[in-house]
């Protein structure tokens, strides 16, 4: 069970207060009708899935309810940092 720091509550809380929400910094296309099949494929389905540093979204669902981003190492499962949604990629 992870201990996760919520950047809004500024507290470390057990993982079961949080919901994982997938890879972070995948921007919704600004003009969806301009996308071709290749762009849709990479927006919807292609994922970095790295062995190492991973940028990911979490939601403090049983707390403040807000989404935030985290950097975690996918081999050690150790969190490097968490930061508020909208802040630049760390």
């Amino acid at each position: 069970m992870f201990l996760i720091h919520c950047p809004y509550c500024d507290e470390k809380r057990p993982e079961n207060e949080f919901a994982y929400a997938g890879e972070a910094h995948i921007a919704r296309p600004a003009d969806p009708s301009a996308l071709d099949d290749k762009d849709w494929e990479s927006y919807l389905y292609i994922r970095a899935n790295p062995r190492g540093r991973h940028h990911e979204r979490w939601r403090h669902i049983h707390g403040c309810g807000r989404f935030f981003n985290a950097v975690r190492d996918t081999v050690s499962d150790k969190f490097e940092s968490t930061y508020k949604a909208g802040e630049p990629r760390k």
Binding site: M1, W40, I46, R47, P50, E56, T74, D77
Partner: protein, 417 residues
């Protein structure tokens, strides 16, 4: 390779069992092969075996970063079934179930395939409708699957709690009688031994670290921790690590790798005759021949390569198990572990060619690829030998995520296999 038989057992007994040869010799990498398989799980070893046995390519190496069978092959709960909804999936998984049938004889190695039946419980109206739809679709595809009333389900599996007062009452069940289990380690060892007997080199403790491509873009060979090895055909069958290896060839894949856990109880006398799954309650269980109750959990929620998961996932699973099988409430659990499963967006595998000439892939089996081991091995071998997919794996392309021609078993199954 020594042929196992009642006679060889007797002959060895006279020598006090001191003279059994090793299953397969440990091979060192040669400079070049006709084909290389990356990953010595059941799928990769199976592919090497069928390349040599059926498709006439014998100069083959299987390259494994750890020990063979140490990935998901050695970590799974061994459930075998083929009652998938869509035509493409039914054909794919049933191809494997047909091969399971003669596998022990084919490999001259007992893989302990046991057709004890896989029963899926229906707890609500939606389950009933969806299972009946599966049953009809399966029958049209020649795949056995039948509907049981709660009483029939209880007769097939006596420990089941079918009380109408249960929190998740059992309203019926779908039963695939040809479904069951097999011994996971034996599958890896059986394929390794048989492949090795046909001349395949099985190279362990050797990680693939790069894929070398020529100026035409085609594969030339692989870089490994034990040096460069040339081959014009490379088949990647690396389960949870597929994204990492595809990245070496400059390809990005529609995959995410998640921890999936399982656990076993203390061994007890035979109490549980079949496999029972409940998608709604999110739990499934069987009993191994050693006597342990084998219980599968759901995936952890995050991407990881750690080969471990969190305890609350297991707690959640056990809560569900004790609800359906009250007799387990006071049992002790002995061990739990995790593997890393490669999940596609539609929960169907990717098995075929890649945009890189000479590079083939077998991945995306996620939480349910053990049952497909012989079929996946055979089809990867076929695809590599012919440089074209077999008609059974032709729909399972990488391109489907671009064209939108998904095979959406995610919506149809939604839980571990």
């Amino acid at each position: 390779m020594m042929r196992y038989s009642a006679f060889s057992l007797f002959a060895q007994a006279l020598k006090k069992h001191q003279d059994w040869p090793e299953f397969w010799p440990d091979a060192a990498p040669k400079p070049a092969y006709d084909a290389i398989i990356v990953g010595a799980g059941g799928h990769g070893l199976g592919a090497a075996y069928y390349l040599a046995k059926k498709y006439g390519i014998r100069n083959v190496a299987v390259i494994e970063k750890g020990w063979l069978g140490g990935g998901n092959t050695g970590r799974n709960t061994t459930i075998i079934r083929s009652n998938y909804l869509y035509d493409e999936s039914a054909h794919l998984y049933d191809h494997a179930v047909k091969l399971w049938d003669g596998l022990s004889q084919d490999l001259n190695f007992n893989v302990m395939y046991s057709k004890r039946g896989v029963m899926m419980l229906a707890h609500n109206v939606h389950d009933i409708q969806s299972f009946k739809r599966h049953i009809h679709a399966n029958r049209l595809n020649g795949v056995d699957n039948e509907w049981l009333t709660p009483e029939q389900a209880k007769a097939y599996c006596p420990p089941l709690n079918i009380s109408p007062d249960a929190r998740y009452p059992v309203l019926g069940a779908a039963l695939q009688r040809r479904g069951g289990t097999a011994r996971h380690d034996s599958v890896a060892w059986g394929y390794a031994r048989a492949a090795s007997g046909l001349g395949v080199d099985i190279i362990q403790n050797c990680a693939v670290t790069g894929i070398r491509r020529g100026s035409d873009g085609a594969v030339q060979g692989v870089e490994t921790t034990r040096g460069y090895i040339a081959a014009k055909k490379v088949g990647v069958s690396a389960a949870g690590n597929t994204s990492v290896i595809m990245d070496m060839a400059g390809l990005r894949f529609p995959l995410e790798s998640y921890p999936l856990q399982a656990l076993v109880s203390e061994p007890v006398k035979p109490v549980f005759p079949c496999v029972v799954m409940s998608n709604t309650v999110h739990a499934y269980m069987s009993q191994s021949d050693k006597g342990e109750l084998v219980i599968g959990a759901g995936t952890d929620q995050y991407v990881s390569y750690s080969q471990r998961g969190a305890l609350h996932i297991i707690e959640h699973t056990l809560a569900a198990i004790t609800e359906i099988f009250p007799f387990t409430a006071r049992m002790r659990m002995l061990r739990s572990w995790g593997g890393i499963v490669d999940v596609t967006p539609d929960r169907s595998p990717i098995l075929g060619k890649t945009p890189v000439p000479g590079l083939y892939v077998n991945c995306g089996w996620g939480t349910g690829g053990f049952k497909a081991t012989p079929g996946a091995g055979d089809l990867l071998a076929y695809t590599m030998a012919h440089d074209a997919p077999h008609r059974i794996n032709a729909p399972f392309t990488l391109e489907r995520f671009r064209t939108g021609r998904l095979i959406d078993e995610a919506a149809a199954a939604a839980v571990a296999h």
